[in-house]
Symmetry: D2
Subunit: 487 residues, 4 copies
């Protein structure tokens, strides 16, 4: 069966019930509204790529279930190479869109992680979650779905557990278990790519104990399900997208994050893959973060590639050879390669779950998360350093001024410098600004959890006593050297 096309995808999005809002107003059609059409375009490019002979290898693969050709982002990942395939696609996506295509990331990861987790639950509890999931995956592969994934709850007071919150709605929870499904209520926040998704995979936001079992949920819902209201977040520069000069001021691609507000939403049981089995949330988080934090290295390296490219453009447009900045460009490249290579290393050092799913090495993946939360900031700094003042400081007038009949010609004279026209320099400067402070990009810092959380994992996966014993043995220290007692 032929892969779905961009047109199929846009058509499917247009059929969804409008339930997305921004700046207080409803968005009728996400494929054309200026607030959402860029993230839709980013995802539509995936359909183009999968149907493009040059890129299909990156964007498609073979179903382990049916043997059919399917979109890679709907596939099972069962080896190091499959995980690296995920990374290759992510890096390529950033290179083509400058940003995140979040609706082919978390959902994809979720279905692979839940494949393993459901096998564990089923085995111990006699449930049939994996069969339900299998059915859903088969449908997703066949329909070529784009599926966002949602972990992060509103959380409320960070020092309290979900069940202790004054307002129970700060975390998504099950309010009713019925014969035919469950009713859920609460919020998931900052969900990437929601506006471009057809469905949303809902996941546990943390590790839960028994008292928080109502929050142990995994299920998939259509993006336009009854009872779900979505509000798009705003970024510093996104009002530029609403103006008639948007074509010059901002890329055609981009990402948005949604706040998902659930009010008594019914999810039929065939779409539910975890229902209060809180004990398995630990495994879920472990597997999910391992793969997520290994592969995110590809995202920041892909965006870093574009920052290198934008810097090369800016150097030349300023009248300088890119060679002038060789040292900085090499350092940018090194930073990109650290997160990509370390991610690939986590994939290579991973392990195969009995269910068939393959998971990256946790210790290495969480180390990578710390790098992902650090190195891109340096790459951004270097992008601003190479680009010059008009990139860094909010120091360039708007395109409305650029074309103003009274003084626009003077602005244009000021902007013409080295290679290329004044307009090209305008656009390139806007790109570097957007990549570094326009924030057209979700966070490498907190996306998928904070670096401090990653450090906790690093701490617990570093065997201090074993290492101390290596030291003792090398120096022939016979004596035990133990922790001091509390005094």
């Amino acid at each position: 069966m032929a892969l779905k096309t961009r047109e199929d995808y846009l058509e499917a999005l247009r059929k969804l019930r409008p339930n997305i809002y921004k700046f207080g107003e409803m968005i009728e059609d996400v494929t054309t509204h200026p607030a959402t059409k860029r993230t839709v375009e980013s995802h539509a490019l995936n359909y183009d790529a999968a149907n493009d002979p040059e890129l299909e290898d990156i964007y498609s693969t073979t179903s382990t279930f049916t043997g059919d050709k399917i979109f890679r982002w709907n596939s099972m990942m069962q080896s190091t190479d499959d995980l690296i395939g995920n990374m290759r696609m992510k890096r390529q996506n950033y290179r083509r869109t400058g940003s995140c295509t979040g609706a082919v990331c978390v959902g994809w990861n979720a279905m692979n992680v839940m494949w393993a987790v459901t096998s564990e639950i089923d085995k111990e509890r006699g449930t049939d979650y994996q069969q339900r999931l299998r059915n859903w995956i088969l449908a997703a592969q066949s329909k070529g779905l784009t599926v966002a994934g949602a972990l992060t709850d509103a959380k409320g007071d960070r020092s309290l557990k979900p069940s202790q919150q004054p307002d129970p709605d700060t975390n998504l929870r099950i309010t009713e278990v019925r014969e035919d499904g469950i009713v859920i209520h609460g919020a998931k926040l900052m969900i990437c790519g929601t506006a471009a998704s057809q469905e949303i995979f809902l996941l546990p936001g943390s590790i839960y104990g028994e008292s928080d079992q109502d929050f142990a949920i995994a299920c998939v819902v259509p993006r336009d399900i009854e009872g779900l209201t979505i509000v798009e977040a705003t970024r510093p520069s996104d009002r530029r997208e609403l103006e008639d000069t948007a074509d010059v001021e901002t890329p055609d691609t981009g990402i948005t994050q949604g706040w998902l507000l659930f009010e008594d939403v019914f999810v039929p049981k065939e779409r539910v893959f975890m229902c209060k089995e809180y004990k398995y949330t630990a495994k879920f988080i472990q597997y999910f973060t391992a793969n997520y934090r290994a592969c995110i290295g590809a995202c920041v390296s892909g965006q870093g590639d574009v920052m290198i490219g934008a810097s090369v453009l800016m150097a030349r447009l300023n009248g300088l050879s890119a060679k002038t900045f060789t040292d900085k460009l090499v350092n940018m490249s090194i930073n990109n390669t650290i997160t990509y290579g370390l991610g690939a290393g986590a994939c290579a050092l991973g392990f195969k779950h009995p269910s068939g799913s393959f998971f990256a090495d946790s210790h290495t993946a969480h180390t990578n998360k710390v790098m992902v939360a650090t190195l891109p900031y340096e790459v951004k700094r270097m992008t601003q350093e190479i680009g010059g003042g008009i990139v860094e400081t909010g120091c360039m007038p708007s395109y409305k001024d650029f074309t103003n009949p009274q003084y626009g010609h003077l602005i244009q004279k000021c902007l013409k410098a080295g290679a290329g026209s004044a307009e090209t320099r305008f656009k390139a400067a806007r790109l570097s600004e957007w990549l570094t402070i326009g924030s057209g990009v979700p966070g490498c810092m907190h996306g998928g959890g904070s670096p401090d959380g990653a450090k906790l994992v690093v701490r617990f996966t570093t065997p201090l006593e074993e290492y101390a014993n290596y030291a003792r043995k090398i120096m022939n220290i016979q004596e035990e050297v133990i922790e001091p007692k509390k005094k």
Copy 2:
């Protein structure tokens, strides 16, 4: 004579001819227009402070000419303490406005630097520039002026000198020298605080040789002088300032940068302090950058103080103790202190010019510039790390959504977390975003020149041969060790 007040200042601004534009439209009154009123407010706070018994020590001093009490930003700086007084005021300004008050920075520095440079020109050339400057300074002190300063030209192709540019207007130049003054033409870009200034001190943008003598200009012009058109630059988040929710979405203070477009502007000779004396542009740049790059350490540390404060707020609003982040807060504080302390060190290691002006040590000041272009990026990163996702990723909806009658209450439920209300958390998150990626701040990277330029100075002020001789002497190496010949 009493110091001028906020009201005097605002009144003076209102009397100026409207010649500032943004988004293609003219700004009638800079004190009330949403695009400029924030930078005006930042500067008005200086008048408040100088008249406030608690702060007057920082904001006022005594005229070395008249013995009158004057605004510190109109004073001569003739000692280490005077320079550190400049730094104290800058840091305080950032702490109260979160950003730059550029119209009490470059102009102030300029008059002190030109005091020394004019004495050198006068001595060798028999001119009377210093007397002209003295008269202007006396008037500025008496009127309590706020004076922007403008160095940066449009530049054009960075690989060509001003006189070689295809378009001569890419650098501000003298097109005619008349008996009663000069005519100038061209552009100065990214000039901080223009909209809040009463006058603008125009300065040489680089070191010029004989063929570029037409570009060797120093003079002061009223901000609304005939022939001058000013276009305000735009920043990623500044369209928020134009909306009716601006009070919540953005601070009341801020900075803007202007592009100054000069078309045959006549400057009377009593306001001209350098006219084609290209030989002195080297000294000008040396003195100017020494003081500027020493004192800029105070700016980034003051903004860093606010980032620490905003991070303390965010931690608590998220439900966590600020103590959780002690390590990061200490590292932020260390970074702030490096730039402030290193700036103070440059002031302490400076020298007194025969004219009375005091200049910071160049080597130390340029080293500080490199730090100023590096460390604040780390402070910003840590601000985002402590603040969480709603600070970092453009992950929070607009205030229009926050108050939406249909779903606003759900947004508010999501935003209420630890200490404080949902609205306070909204505002604090916007502040951290603004401080880090909203770009309500001019550049520590390129403001006052690039860090690569600073490294050039560091290179030439590091005596490699002397250091090599220390090494030889310590190791009793008698032999000369010289550079290899070209092969």
Copy 3:
């Protein structure tokens, strides 16, 4: 056939002709002389490990030629997993010896790289190098040899090619090609593990052109071949090894580097695998550095593990809980994991050569080299920070003072602090000192080439134009933006 044992190995070493010198004197027996017995012990541990059921998986594998069980360090590496097997063994070696076991590193890498290179030469030139190499490898596997490898020449003036050097002996060269073999002359320097090796694999030190064809050599020689004089280098702390207190002052393991001085050494042709085929030195260097610089990440991480362990000991011996230093220990662990994980990533992203050899990805491997030359310095700094003054500053008396009858008891009183005895604290402090400034370890900086060389590779493997085109495409920039012409 059973694997060789420690005893077999020591016996083999003892049979070699004494041709190693240190401090001006000949070393009769490397297995007992205090200057060499530590590096021999480090390598003897490999034989123990390969015969130890718990570790044999790391230290042994199956011959691709014979199916026999062989030492891993004599094996062909033909997949990602084989390369990671190399890394696992390296890390384990550092954990058990605190240092390098250089005689199972370069030689091993050499035979795999030359397997590919000889196949290329043979194919194009009709030679039989691969067959010769195959025979030698079979013998090495069968005899369980420990084989050092030697690339680095004395080089002479770095700005001249080998053939341009005033002294031709600064690079190892072929002085005569005979029917039955070749005669070589010159020097290879800083060769790790020479004293512990049975044979030495000699390799081209650089990429050579036609005029330097005499320097294009690959061959294997017995360590005690006629005409070869070896002088051991000295390290800051190695005189401690010669004293009767050595057991307490220094580990039982260690590494030494030798200077190999060749004077008209004849190598029979069956041991020669490259003879003036200069064109293939480029491939050799490419393949060699890719695998070497990927795997070296395991070395520095293994040593870093020991530094973590030593720091845990020191904390406790000082009277503090290791928990006090959690943040630093985590950062040390992160640094270790970056070089290990990035190395594994390079292995995962590598490629299979038609000959069967597998090579790591060059771009990633060279990025890792830059990290390897940077991060361990931070780990060392943290080791000194945790350890306290007696670790850092050469601030602890000798063991002779520790046991002095007059005042030794006072020293011992001073050294007793928290957990453990005064002597244990003495030994642990010496270990941390040795790991950080005693230099009982070859260089992560220049071993296998300089980081600046690695940056050159990073530069040439970063496709700047491709990246610039991504940027153009994202911003819809139609215009070409090309490098400026020279002016």
Copy 4:
């Protein structure tokens, strides 16, 4: 009265009772014994410099008591300029010796700090400590003494107070107060420059409470006082100093640290300046660390200057232009300037004590300590990077091998490269090794206390609530935002 000369100084040292030991043996004459003559030479250079017209400005000044010309290291520091004078001398010392001259550092600081502390004690307690101190200072100025200073106790278990230690001798304490003086017992460790000192200023090692009052001691003792045994610590490379090749293997200058073992030492009361007044130990520590940690920036920058110089030599000796490494040399220079300039900034931001003493700003000084414990490690790394393998890895044979009649000529051929002779390259390589891993230098890490201690001060001197209020005010947040209550 003429300043003392090198000869006077050496003569005075020779007259002292031999009470210093190393490697288990007594040192008869510190001025000639190879283990101590290098640190004596370093200090003798101070006498030369003070009598040298070119340097006397740095090394001498005028007594505030008598108006006589005195050694700067015996002077009172009563202004920013005096403190910067201390820094200038420290930097110059490092440039001339490559290392520390510890006997003109802590003692000098001590007398200035105790000048202020004794005035506080005297004022509140009616004692006459300051008069005693005045008398001693006058004598020190007149005799031109070189005076070491000793803070660091053996400490014992870091988690226990001095009075809680199982062994009371782990901290120096008063065991008896007599009419005519005090008796002290215990140990001070790692005391720089002891072997070169004539007297030693003993100081409280920490802040003490009432139960630890016996440890609150300040006094001065002759270096050879009865009951004091001194054991010299050992450094990795110091056995080289004992060999007959020492002239080539190591500099003529250097530093050593001593362990001071006090057994019932009687100190007459006129040399006692604090006796159990524990309340003032807090002030002592505050003042002492402020000046010490400001000025130590000069030490590491001075050593950094030599590392730059040594790197220039090595580049050329390797056959490369120093220009090849401009970027690294500039970064080294920047690091040096940060610690020097930040120290100068702390001096400029300091305050004058009512007693006349001047103290650097604590917050800035402790920030500098953190830099001092970080940046030199980078400078060392770059020194190794520029120098090449023979500098880094313990990869060069000994001078005994260099001159060996059998193969020495071959070693020499290997060492001759670019500019200069083989022997010069040998010596320069040893210098870079000594500067970076030979550890001929006391610690920038723990000298004067640990960086973690400095961070504690930074933390308490950063006004978080004030900064939070700036943030609130900028964003018009009316609500208080307070720390969460414990839950």
